[in-house]
Subunit: 424 residues, 2 copies
């Protein structure tokens, strides 16, 4: 058979997500029901859920967060899908994207025609130090963690390498944060529905209310460059460079290409999929890019027969702002060492030449780790269908990409989606 080609095409015909945020009163089951219901109602023709033949769930570690492993059959049962095969897929924060890929392969194999993909994480029940420790298990716990690293530390090391190698400025990171909050403010599912300007204003008002001197910040950049507004977390990364700890679920329905029009008048086709793995940070020649991301992107472009300039928009894995800048280079949107300048020049804005993270990204939308990769698909599905509302990319995009990273780049998975002209 031809290499890096699927034996059968696959389309997305439904997508939904819960609100991302902190929900102490909800379990992961509740969050998935919200996502599943929205997915169901999003199918524009008819969906009888008894036609769903298999379920793939991306989840990082309900084992640690909720003391609930073996989550896939429980969730399948909770939404009435027993006894279909229910399989959890785990590749740290790339679990959702990898679950999508498994579902694509499963349909291509001929075994199933209709497959549900879920992504789910409930992180906020644990105290924050235990969350950091649980997230740390996504790194190499024999080598990296004993060296004193936590995840902000890994990405701070990558940020430092990047700044050094390209003589870049951390101001570029703040530009990413400002843009993603601006997009997130237009997304009612986002954990942070406020622009940086709104957050700054609220902070100023709180200071005055407390009888403290009013901070002198005039611009968003004033606020983000003042440690009193935006303290360092792991230099050079500040609070507003970090995605939050989140709860959330997302669901996407995939069907075989030849039956896609039974479910939707506007199916979105999965035309490219690439996945790659890598060892820990200390094995890499440089920390200024993620080799697995470059490899995964190459495979996905090759399968899709597309090039970076064909992408009308992308949802990328901005667990930290530096990760978005590196992603735009790994994906070939910009040359190496040019991503930070592109971010500062507004090229990744919603109306820029390479719109990135129109949903608000992990930074503003939230990062319930196992759900993030599936949440990205919800956004590109909405954008390609032209139903993204206030944050719709202008000019009706037809090709979009998702980029989902696990750990500090031990896994990366990239997908490319297309709206076909005949579906207009």
């Amino acid at each position: 058979m031809e290499k890096n080609k699927l034996a059968r095409g696959v389309a997305v015909v439904g997508a939904g997500m819960s609100k991302f945020g902190s929900f102490p009163e909800k379990t992961s089951r509740d969050l998935f029901v919200e996502a599943f219901q929205e997915m169901k109602h999003s199918v524009d023709k008819e969906l009888d859920t008894r036609n769903i033949e298999a379920f793939y769930l991306g989840n990082f570690s309900s084992d640690q967060f909720e003391k609930q492993a073996h989550l896939a059959p429980i969730i399948a049962n909770w939404v009435g899908l027993s006894p279909i095969p229910a399989t959890r897929v785990e590749d740290a924060c790339a679990s959702g994207g990898v679950a999508l890929r498994e579902a694509v392969l499963a349909i291509a194999s001929g075994m199933y025609d209709v497959v549900l993909v879920g992504g789910l994480e409930k992180m906020t029940d644990l105290p924050i130090d235990q969350v950091t420790e649980a997230l740390g298990t996504a790194a190499d716990t024999q080598f990296e963690i004993p060296a004193g690293f936590t995840f902000p530390g890994f990405y701070a090391a990558m940020a430092t390498a990047y700044l050094d190698e390209y003589d870049a400025t951390p101001l570029a990171f703040s530009h990413v944060s400002i843009k993603n909050h601006k997009n997130g403010a237009l997304n009612d599912k986002a954990q942070f529905g406020q622009t940086i300007a709104e957050i700054m204003k609220a902070k100023k008002e709180r200071a005055v209310k407390k009888g403290l001197p009013e901070p002198t910040w005039q611009t968003e950049m004033d606020f983000l460059t003042d440690p009193k507004g935006n303290p360092a977390i792991a230099w050079p990364l500040t609070l507003f460079d970090c995605s939050p700890v989140s709860d959330g679920g997302a669901a996407v329905l995939l069907v075989a290409e030849e039956i896609a029009h039974k479910y939707s008048a506007h199916p979105i086709f999965v035309i490219g999929s690439g996945q790659a793995s890598d060892g820990a940070l200390h094995d890499r020649a440089t920390l200024s890019y993620i080799p697995a991301a470059q490899e995964a992107a190459e495979k996905a472009y090759e399968m899709a027969g597309k090039k970076p300039t064909d992408m009308d928009l992308a949802e990328v894995h901005d667990c930290f702002t530096i990760a978005e800048i590196i992603a735009t280079e790994d994906l070939g949107f910009f040359e190496r060492g040019e991503g930070w300048k592109a971010a500062m020049a507004g090229k990744t804005a919603r109306d820029g030449e390479h719109p990135v993270n129109t949903s608000g990204g992990l930074k503003a939308k939230g990062h319930p780790v196992g759900a993030s990769g599936v949440g990205q698909v919800v956004e590109v599905w909405k954008q390609l269908r032209g139903i993204a509302g206030q944050r719709q990319v202008p000019g009706r995009p037809s090709v979009a990409l998702t980029h989902n990273v696990g750990g500090s780049g031990q896994t990366c998975v990239v997908h490319i989606f297309e709206r076909r002209n005949s579906d207009e």
Copy 2:
């Protein structure tokens, strides 16, 4: 496309495993290297490991056992396979069997020709109460665990229901234990390489050495029915009804059917695969069988075009002895309520009409949970190739089945393998 059929055939061309047992000096990485090396040397033609295109790892919860999530890319890196896609699959104790199924689907999809399947668990580093708690996360922790159950309790409830429904005797459970220890004594990879008679003899000698009165046990059944030899764990299940806590790894190499003869003169074909899910115990009409196992078996038989009487041997999920008896009914080897009589009559012995767990099963070989489903494949591969040594099933078997259960039946996955006559 035709339902429940693969677009492309798949064959096993190599298989290996570490010794199963308790290895405080080893990590899961070490155990997988042992399995991988044996798999490599088992390939009877040539294997260049650079031809391996993807890796699926079955692992229940290294998150909890070793504080290491995101294990798949780490293990792939450890055996020199970066940057290939590396994906962890989790369905509790069925993780290994489900990883195998994902690899089968991935090859059938046309995406890969050569895929490595691993199974791995390192359980013995934690104190035993924490192991029991970690295993408990494979149950429904919102409903089942707060009701006071642990896994011996779940299977004791099933055993009690079975005894009641069919007026059976717990002596049947001991027959399973005796048989599996007899088989395990012929398997140098088994955690328990002793027959029950040998264990009894050693216990008697230890009593005498301590100056205690010599126990009067004459037969294995005397020993197993005396609480001093074989204490109750969760009535009616005793110590020798329970599989142990284990460390271990297993590896299997799958290739597309059309290239199988490049790797092996004796490929073993995967001709059936079935997977099913279910809710928790309290939702079932009866506890005397596992509905997901019956469903998975039906799918696998249908795909293979085979019936239960065609199976020359089977490796089934005997996490507890009652589970083996129920499995032989769920798989259709015996009618409902007849499995316990068949066990007592020796029908599942190595030279019986339905040889079951020739490897020693989970009971004697050991149960490193994520590895168990892959370890089962190692056994049937050896049996079908006629290289199982002293425990070889007589008459050169040609069709074999594996049956792997997660939780108390929330997941079940069944595979059927065949040696083709042209490969003699």
